[in-house]
Structures are given as C-alpha cells and as structure tokens.
C-alpha cells in the first residue's frame, strides 16, 4: 500500500506540478521559448526540401469561393494619410520599391494594373485555424522586383504597411524563394472587383505557401534587404517581433 501511495504522489506530482504550473513558467521563459523556436528552422528546411521553389498551391474554381471571406487583423489603416488616399480612390498612391535595388521605383495603381497580371483562386489559412477561399488578381512580385533589379546581397523582401497595432506599424517579410514564387502577387483585385478596404486596399501580398499573417495588407513600400536583423524588432514581422509567432509560417 505504501507503494500505491507513492505511485499516486508520483503521478500527481508529475501531472499536476510539472504539466500545469511548471509549464506556465516554462512557457514564459525566454530560454525555453528559444529551444521551442529551434524546430522552426528544421520545419523550414524540411518543408522547402520537399516543396522546391515552383510547385503551386492548389487553385480552386469560382464555385468554391467562400460566400463571405473573413477579414482578420486590421480591417483599415487608421491614419489621415490613408483615409485621404482611400477617399480619392488611391489616385496619388505610389507603391515604393526600394532598398537593395538598382532602380528604386514609385508605381501607381494604374501602372501596376497595366503590368502582366495573374488571377488565382486560392485558400487563405489563418493561424487561428479557419480557412477561406477567394479569387485574387495582381502583379507577380517577381515582375516588379525584376523591373527594380535586385542588387547582389538582397536576401529578403520586406513589406511596410499603412496599418498598425496600437502605434506599432505592421510589416512582414519573405525570402527570395517566396518572393519569386509564381503565385506570389501584389494583389489589387479580389473576387472580380477592386481589393476591398477590409482586405488591405490598395495592395495586399499573397504568399500562398504560408499562413495568413504573412499576407501583408495595406502595402505602401517594398524594401529589399540583406538581413532582417536591422528591420524593426529584427524577427521579420509584427507578429514575430511582438508576439512570438514564427517567421516561417508554412505550418
């Protein structure tokens, strides 16, 4: 019977102590978080290894569209500049392409619309778990980057956005494998019309191999950089910097 009690104590100690209270302080510990984060690079290497650079995300038909495509994160950019641009149909909007490029550009929405375009009906997967299917029309990012001509040493593309979370501006980034993926587009159209405000007008990035928070909305500036270390918090995105989300959001 003594053994019986010990066993119960053991299980209660392990189950209760370690798994409940212990894991909460572990969850908050930065060194534990660093260890847990270490599997992210393993996941990226493994997934990219079987993915390659050119395989396409499944494309659906118009019959498959979500009746209502949920909009998440910020559904507007709450600044006077953005409101003014929205009011005049983004007539004065210029998408800035800069950083490590030979030829910095300022592209109007009309210019973007006259460039080669791609329309794709794809599934948008939120990190929360839900999915929605929408039709997206836009300019392949590779086309714009080729116009601006990336300089040697450019490894990442950073998207600076008009929206913010309590004064912290939203931004996101991707490496060149995603930037040059055929389905990575600067979308200005959705479901046959112009991109609605709540989905990131005038431009949202589509990064079809990753989760929703990588698809930056309200994009104002595209910057080519050598490293993400010097951009904002250094982790490559708003959710990555401030909330411990993974930069590689392939899963």
């Amino acid at each position: 019977m003594a053994l019986e009690i010990n066993r119960r104590k053991l299980i209660a100690g392990l189950g209760g102590g370690l798994l409940v209270s212990g894991c909460d302080s572990w969850s908050r510990s930065e060194s534990v978080q660093r260890i847990l984060h270490s599997s992210e690079s393993l996941t990226k290497v493994a997934q990219r290894g079987i993915l390659g650079d050119t395989a396409l995300a499944r494309e659906f038909t118009l019959a498959d569209l979500s009746p209502i495509h949920r909009a998440n994160g910020n559904t507007t950019a709450d600044t006077p500049e953005y409101r003014a641009m929205l009011a005049n149909g983004f007539a004065n909007y210029r998408l800035q392409i800069g950083g490590l490029v030979e030829r910095p550009l300022g592209i109007s929405l009309d210019q973007l619309r006259s460039m080669p375009s791609r329309t794709q009906i794809t599934r948008h997967d939120c990190v929360e778990g839900w999915s929605a299917i929408g039709q997206w029309t836009g300019t392949p990012l590779s086309h714009v980057l080729d116009l601006a001509r990336l300089r040697d040493g450019a490894n990442y593309i950073v998207f600076h956005c008009a929206d913010s979370f309590s004064d912290t501006p939203y931004y996101e980034s991707m490496d060149l494998s995603d930037a040059y993926h055929p389905q990575t587009i600067l979308a200005y159209g959705m479901n046959g019309g112009p991109l609605p405000e709540r989905h990131g007008a005038p431009i949202r990035v589509r990064n079809e191999r990753q989760l929703g928070y990588k698809h930056a909305k309200f994009v104002m500036r595209v910057e080519a950089v050598a490293s993400l270390d010097t951009v904002y918090g250094g982790k490559g995105g708003y959710w990555e910097d401030d909330h411990n989300y993974a930069w590689y959001a392939g899963i």
Partner: protein, 289 residues
C-alpha cells in the same frame, strides 16, 4: 515482451522480461509528448473553437461543432444538439477566480494562460519528437520483429469465439494470469495496432494537411481527407480517440496491478501474477503453452 525462452514458461511469482528497451523508451517519450500535444492542441483549438467539413470554413460558415457562450452560459454544440457546459467549456473561472469565455479551460491547455503563439511553439516542437520517435520505433519494431511476433494477431485469436471470450473476460475485469500475462491478449493487440498504425499516422497526416506548405508539396493530402477543414476536424476527433485510449489504458494498468505494470514499463521486468483460484477455461490454457 516475448523475450521468454522457448519451451519453458516462467513460473508464478518469478520475475520475467516483458518489455524491450525500445518499447519502454518510446512509451515514456510518448507519455510526455502526447500530453504536451493534447494540451497545446487545445490552446490552438481555443483560437477558433469551431470545426467544419470541406476546404474552407470561418465564422460565417456553418460549423458542425462549436464551443461558445451566451452571456454567462457556456455550451457545446454538435450539429443541432446542444449541451450547457458552463464551468467547463465556453464559460468558466480560472484558479484566480477570473471568468473566461475561451472554449477549453486553463487546466486543460498548455500554456494555462491563453497564447496561440506559445501553444504553437510547444505543439510544433513536440510534433517533431512524436514523428521522429514514432518513425524510429516503427522501423525498429519491424526490424526486431516486435510487430510480427508480439503485436500481429494469430488466426485463432481472430475467431469470433475467442474475441467474444476475451471481451467477456475484460468486462468481468478478469485479466490473463500466469505466464499468459506476459503476452498481449487479442484486445490489447488490436488496440495497440489501431493506435500505432491508424490513429497516430492519421493524426500526423491530418496535422500536415493543415500546413499550407505541405498542401503544396503533397496535394494528395487534401484529396485523402477532403480538404483542409475536414483534416482539421479529423485531427480533433483523433485527438479525442487518443484521450479515450489513454483513459482505458490507465484504467487497465490500475486494474491489472499498477505497481507490477508500471515497474515492467520502467525496468522491463514483470512478476508473473498468480493464477486465479477457479478453473481457467480450456481454450485460454492452450494459448499459454
């Protein structure tokens, strides 16, 4: 298991070798990993406590399962059927007395406070442990013939009469004694095979189907499970089948003699339990030979 020399059964009261080192290592790695996966999985579920069938599904689409609240009342809804779950699901108070309307309560989630990103860190780290240890165990158990020798049912065990006999014996809580206790009985074999070769692979593959990158690499995953949201639903159902397995498994360990059982999973050695007073049915005796 099955390390017994042919021809000679160990006697009642003797210590006999029962579980291989690979089985023991995998068991305890899994015991920890599965609990972390289940609890961090519930944290992730709490981010969107609704399940759908098909490719897409979000708040405006019909959910086949949802956990939600109406004011103070928490509820679980499956199809048209709804049950009030205040205190446990959808509306509960934590140990500090704060009310929450998250789906699963803090005692069931990892971390105990709500953080989707930290829940994902735990889940996606230990997913690697689950998969790598599982693959290693799979290969190892075929190579050392654990699967073929100890887990694969013999033809006579699959006869309805034998199955029915074992079910009745289990229902009466009469478990194999003597040397027969060293071998898995048919119900054990079937449940371990179910977990090892159906449940765990389905959990891993439906998990991968939720990955947008994996859907690009292996689009057949989407066809196999009927879309990403179906895969998410199946993942959730399988997680609860795993909970069911754990509950039955722990109950069986307790009923069969927890000290001897747990020792055998730690040291590998098992004391042969005494035979019951009454006459054993002849069919069972034959199998112990």
């Amino acid at each position: 298991m099955a390390a017994i020399k042919d021809g000679e059964d160990p006697q009642v009261g003797e210590m006999a070798k029962r579980h291989r080192l690979s089985t023991r290592l995998w068991h305890w790695t899994n015991a920890l990993t599965i609990f972390i996966m289940l609890m961090s999985g519930l944290t992730i579920f709490n981010a969107h406590p609704r399940l759908y069938w098909g490719s897409y599904g979000a708040n405006q689409d019909p959910a086949w399962l949802q956990i939600d609240n109406e004011g103070e009342r928490g509820y679980l809804q499956i199809g048209d059927w709804q049950i009030t779950t205040t205190g446990v699901l959808g509306s509960w108070t934590n140990s500090e007395g704060e009310r929450s309307t998250r789906a699963f309560p803090s005692w069931a989630t990892l971390p105990g406070y709500y953080s989707l990103s930290i829940g994902r860190l735990w889940h996606l780290f230990f997913a690697w442990v689950l998969v790598l240890a599982g693959l290693f165990y799979w290969i190892w158990s075929f190579a050392n013939r654990h699967v073929q020798r100890d887990l694969s049912p013999e033809t006579k065990e699959l006869k309805p009469r034998h199955l029915w006999h074992d079910i009745k014996e289990h229902a009466k809580l009469r478990f194999p004694t003597g040397a027969a206790a060293l071998n898995y009985n048919i119900l054990q074999k079937l449940s371990y095979l179910f977990v090892l070769f159906l449940l765990l692979p389905t959990i891993v593959l439906t998990g991968l189907t939720m990955s947008p990158s994996m859907d690009v690499a292996w689009p057949w995953l989407l066809d196999l499970f009927g879309g990403r949201q179906s895969a998410r639903s199946i993942h959730f159902i399988c997680a609860f089948l795993m909970v069911g397995f754990i509950i039955v498994h722990l109950a069986m360990v307790v009923l069969a003699g927890p000290y001897n059982e747990i020792r055998s999973m730690i040291t590998g050695r098992f004391r042969i339990p005494e035979k019951r007073e009454e006459q054993q049915p002849a069919t069972v005796k034959e199998e112990t030979a």
